[in-house]
């Protein structure tokens, strides 16, 4: 190529499928504790997690990761309302709400409102829902159940990879375990927030039924369709 000419080639990258990733972040009054350190730590952790996700997205050929975020306290609100490509996302810090409670059910309903059959692209992967909180839900227990039922009543909600991060040991609760509804997937402590990106890396392994696919009976030479995905 001479110095004057510019290489003109088709661009546009490779064909990938959307993977919706919705963050449900607790912005209740208790998140303002310790002179705001907790919410600052959360903002830092989310920004770091998004960097991990960006790197993960870059190195695989299957998913375009699209991020939305809900900030919830007494009421939920969309913090990032539009599905935004993770590589272009600039995380705007969350702030704790004075006197805000930890009502999870309305946040579940808000997430469910974008996961209906006619709202998700047909080709989208099952979404990822990440719930981050520092405390127990303050909802009326019956309303908590109804909110969770609304989410789990949708196919995409039920099939979503649901992760929960508890900030502080006290935040691990039955409510988070019920949200996850997967005995294989424990509540993550905030000290291991780094692991979230690793869990999402696992998404690609699960969907591609990956390289650890092992034959059950190699000695007998009979291949079986049994995939052993090891975390």
């Amino acid at each position: 190529m001479n110095a004057m000419s510019k290489t003109i080639m088709p661009g546009g990258g490779i064909a990938r499928r959307p993977l919706h990733f919705i963050i449900l972040a607790d912005c209740s009054g208790s998140m303002r504790a310790d002179d705001g350190k907790k919410i600052q730590a959360l903002n830092f952790a989310i920004a770091e997690m998004l960097q991990h996700l960006t790197a993960w997205e870059r190195d695989q050929e299957r998913c375009d990761v699209l991020v939305r975020a809900i900030a919830f306290a007494t009421e939920p609100r969309w913090h990032i309302p539009q599905p935004t490509p993770v590589s272009r996302l600039r995380w705007m810090p969350l702030t704790g709400i004075v006197g805000g409670r930890t009502n999870m059910a309305p946040a579940f309903r808000m997430a469910a409102s974008v996961l209906g059959n006619d709202q998700l692209e047909r080709r989208a992967f099952s979404p990822v829902l990440l719930l981050i909180t520092d405390g127990m839900p303050t909802d009326d227990p019956k309303d908590f159940d109804r909110g969770l039922d609304t989410l789990m009543g949708l196919r995409a909600g039920r099939e979503a990879m649901r992760l929960a991060v508890a900030i502080g040991r006290d935040a691990r609760s039955e409510a988070l375990t019920r949200f996850i509804a997967d005995p294989q997937q424990p509540v993550l402590l905030a000290s291991s927030i780094d692991e979230i990106a690793d869990k999402l890396k696992l998404v690609s392994r699960i969907v591609s039924q990956g390289s650890s696919a092992a034959q059950d009976e190699p000695d007998e030479g009979q291949p079986v369709n049994d995939f052993d995905v090891v975390v």
Partner: protein
């Protein structure tokens, strides 16, 4: 077995040297990869998780020890196990290997860049992939798990790096690895065959299809129609792949079966339109006959892929109107430019021994073109652009001997080594072979 921690020490089983474990740099299905230090030099150590069955650990260890013993295949792309390692007072094992250079990036990153590599670089990368797997297969081995996680590339040089070589084994041997579903040969996915060199050839063709056409060769409208969020209709990802990539695979550009064309916004459409018929035919065969006839006769072996890539390299040119990169197809000479939609002026071709090279900037004539085996891949001529000759190209003598140029009605002229010839329709003699330069679509001069 337990995970290793930073600062732990592992001992090489043959060399008896001690490595100090550093940070975790990767996570695979079978184990974790750590940076490791040996007397100030950096290496990588893969440490295994326990297999589901303890007997499998013994199989894995034996298989790895065999790879260590046999040594790396001749191609430098393989990041090969150097030695087995164990840790004192700890169950488990691993192996040490070279640390991959930082210049390597994932293929996904390279293909998603705002400016993808040009054709010459894509072809160089393709040739490196083909040559590396050829060296493995020639050694009687097979790889078993070609996929985007395991192959890396230096976009500046075109070098490739192949990691996770613990999947490698004797062709036809038993395996603990089936591969990655999207890249598996259909007969492996259907559990009708074990991974082998023959199934590697399918996965290699699929990987090359991604490299040149930016999509999956079986992922089209039929797959799209299978996606659904409706209760009772949605297939799991595994069911979907088994159906469309294993049990009912249809090539997206199958000339006889148009039911699974790429979706309308797929990048595969534009890339498919760019390539000459002979190159596309290789992939038609790979994903039609290569699926129905899954053996070394139905599938393209590396030699055929290499020949196709060389021929494609000789087809590179650019639009005379907008300079967009194009590929010349002698069977479709009037094809419009994909970028500006005008029909470019036909290129000048250099023809020797029945094959032709488009004389565009960067094109090379090698000993291979002249079938001069003593010269091999040595570059004898290289095409250059020069601002003093706008719209023209020059051909530099890169060899050790002069060329003779025959011009009608004139005495023959010589082009000495390092000198350049202004490219125009002429007849030459290079390395005692008759070479003609002529306009595409016209007969070569007498």
């Amino acid at each position: 077995m337990t995970e290793l921690q930073t600062g732990d020490k592992v001992r090489m089983q043959a060399a008896l040297e001690e490595l100090v474990i550093g940070d975790r740099i990767g996570e695979g299905g079978q184990g974790t990869v750590y940076r490791a230090n040996l007397n100030g030099r950096s290496f990588a150590v893969k440490w295994y998780r326990p297999a589901r069955r303890p007997a499998d650990d013994a199989l894995i260890y034996a298989s790895l020890a065999k790879l260590v013993e046999s040594g790396r295949p001749p191609h430098p792309a393989f990041i090969w196990p150097i030695d087995m390692v164990k840790a004192e007072g700890r169950n488990g094992f691993g192996y040490v290997m070279p640390l991959m250079d930082r210049r390597f990036v994932s293929f996904a990153q390279m293909l998603s860049a705002s400016e993808p590599p040009d054709f010459r670089m894509l072809i160089r990368i393709g040739l490196n992939l083909v040559d590396s797997f050829a060296s493995l297969h020639t050694a009687g081995l097979c790889y078993r798990d070609i996929n985007f996680d395991n192959l890396w590339v230096d976009p500046a040089s075109g070098d490739v790096a192949i990691i996770d070589n613990d999947n490698v084994g004797t062709n036809g041997g038993k395996a603990l690895v089936k591969g990655t579903m999207r890249f598996m040969a259909p007969e492996v996915m259907r559990d009708e065959a074990l991974p082998s060199a023959t199934t590697d050839l399918y996965s290699l063709a699929l990987f090359l299809f991604y490299l040149f056409f930016f999509g999956h060769p079986l992922d089209g409208e039929l797959v799209e129609a299978s996606y659904s969020w409706d209760e009772g209709k949605r297939l799991t990802e595994e069911e979907l792949m088994l159906k469309h990539f294993g049990k009912e695979p249809v090539f997206v550009f199958d000339p006889d079966n148009p039911v699974n064309r790429p979706v309308s916004d797929s990048p595969m459409w534009i890339w498919w339109s760019l390539y000459p018929g002979f190159f596309k035919d290789m992939f038609v065969r790979s994903f039609t006959t290569g699926i129905t006839d899954p053996n070394l006769y139905g599938r393209l072996v590396e030699g055929v892929l290499r020949k196709g890539l060389y021929r494609l390299e000789d087809s590179i040119w650019e639009c005379s109107t907008c300079t967009a990169r194009m590929l010349y197809d002698p069977d479709d000479p009037g094809r419009a430019c994909w970028n500006c939609k005008t029909v470019p002026q036909p290129p000048l071709l250099l023809t020797v021994l029945g094959s032709s090279i488009v004389l565009a900037e960067g094109a090379v004539l090698t000993g291979r073109h002249l079938r001069a085996h003593d010269l091999g891949e040595k570059v004898l001529a290289q095409v250059e652009a020069d601002g003093s000759f706008p719209g023209r190209v020059l051909m530099r003598n890169k060899g050790d001997d002069p060329w003779t140029v025959f011009l009608p009605g004139e005495e023959p002229k010589m082009v000495q080594p390092k000198q350049r010839l202004l490219v125009r329709p002429v007849t030459l003699e290079i390395a005692r072979k008759r070479v003609t330069i002529h306009q595409a679509g016209q007969q070569p001069p007498g």
